[in-house]
Amino acid sequence: MEPQLNLEDEFYFQWHITERCNKHCRHCYQNSHPTQELPLADLELVLRRMDEALLKWEKQGSLSLTGGEPFVRHDELFALMDRVDYLDSFAYYDVLTNGSLISDDFAHALKNQKKLRRVQVSLEGSKPAINDAIRGKGSYEETLQSIRRLKDCGLAVSVMTTISHLNYKDIPALIALLDDEGVDTFSLERLIPEGRGEGLRDQLLSTQELKSLYERVHEMAVNGTKVRVLMYRPLFTLVAPDDPTVGALCSAGNNALTIMPDGTVYPCRRLPIPIGNVLKDGLFAIWYDSDVLWKIRNPQDLGGKCRDCNLLTTCRGCRAMAFSTTGNYMAEDPQCWR
């Protein structure tokens, strides 16, 4: 049984320890200009700041260690996992990777990490042609091999897909494939047209396309697919407003922060507005005094149809999507079909 937390008691950190990557995916929210990376001593200081904050807030921490591709810094990655394994403030962590650098040795080493919940890899479709058109030639086979390698080691594996016109019709087939492969969980993220993904702006789904896709995914999730489909994202709640496992208020400003390789903090990786630096400002000053976070927390500051929506307590749309499409992170979610 995977560790689960009550959202009320959880605080989530997404930590990008590098922006370097051995892939060049078309939809990536990253641009091509990697930022400065912190040495291990400073990474440990960042971790100490997280630990202090979690203890003060009396929250259980969850952490995603990612990049870029985190295995390009495998020494630092394993060193950080070793430390988190012995911090009481963290319940668990995930590693988000493209999977291509996970050797047998790394897979076995991951199995020995005490608080590693899942390894998340990305796959964009059920066929090489769909996936490789986005992630590069040969990456489909590479990802499937890494899923099998991780599963053979007894690790829980999650697959994440970024949805756009390039792959949305294939999502049901992809879920069936993941079922066959014994993948544990599956999640979908909407394409946010920023970074390299800005070039795919014309591939965003229309509101009706997104509605149909979410309805189909929900139907598959509740009707017998073995892979657990994670649907706690804004707009999913529109599909099944009375189901507490479907949809969730965005965690930006509520119970999450993203930390970049140089310590810069964003509300969310997909909402790249710097709100401070962990090492220079400390997490308390950022969390308590960021104008951006306070604006996000205040539903009265929402624009358009989000402001008067009766699902304010469970949705509020995606602020990153609003920002990337309008320049105003409090604007209505342009993909909402209500």
């Binding site: 904050a53 003060k56 807030w57 308590y288 005094d289 205040n298 009265q300």
Partner: protein
């Protein structure tokens, strides 16, 4: 008990920030160094905001009585009690403006 003498200026302690969302009845003070957070009522929040730039007791009392339209004796008692609580929570401190006089 906080001594409120003429010439003593009450100030918001350094590292304290104030944030509110009045529509949600959220009034908070935060210490951005220690991470301590304090959920306040709107009156305590008003006092802290009023002290943001420092104020002598006599000025604070005058604006409090005016803002809350309370009778002077009761208003002053309530204000003293609230100010004392905020002082004990280390949200406010005092500094002298160099004209300190007898305690009131």
């Amino acid at each position: 008990m906080l001594a409120l003498k003429p010439g003593v200026v009450l100030v918001l302690e350094p590292n304290i920030v104030l944030r509110s969302i009045p529509d949600q009845d959220w009034f908070f003070a935060f210490n951005v160094v220690t991470g301590d957070e304090f959920r306040l009522n709107s009156t305590s929040f008003w006092i802290l905001e009023a002290l943001g730039n420092g104020a002598e007791w006599i000025e604070l009392k005058g604006s409090f009585l005016e803002a809350f339209e309370v009778v002077p004796e009761q208003g002053e008692r309530d204000l003293r009690e609230l100010v004392n609580d905020l002082f004990e929570e280390k949200l406010i401190g005092r500094r002298s403006n160099g004209e300190e006089k007898n305690e009131i």
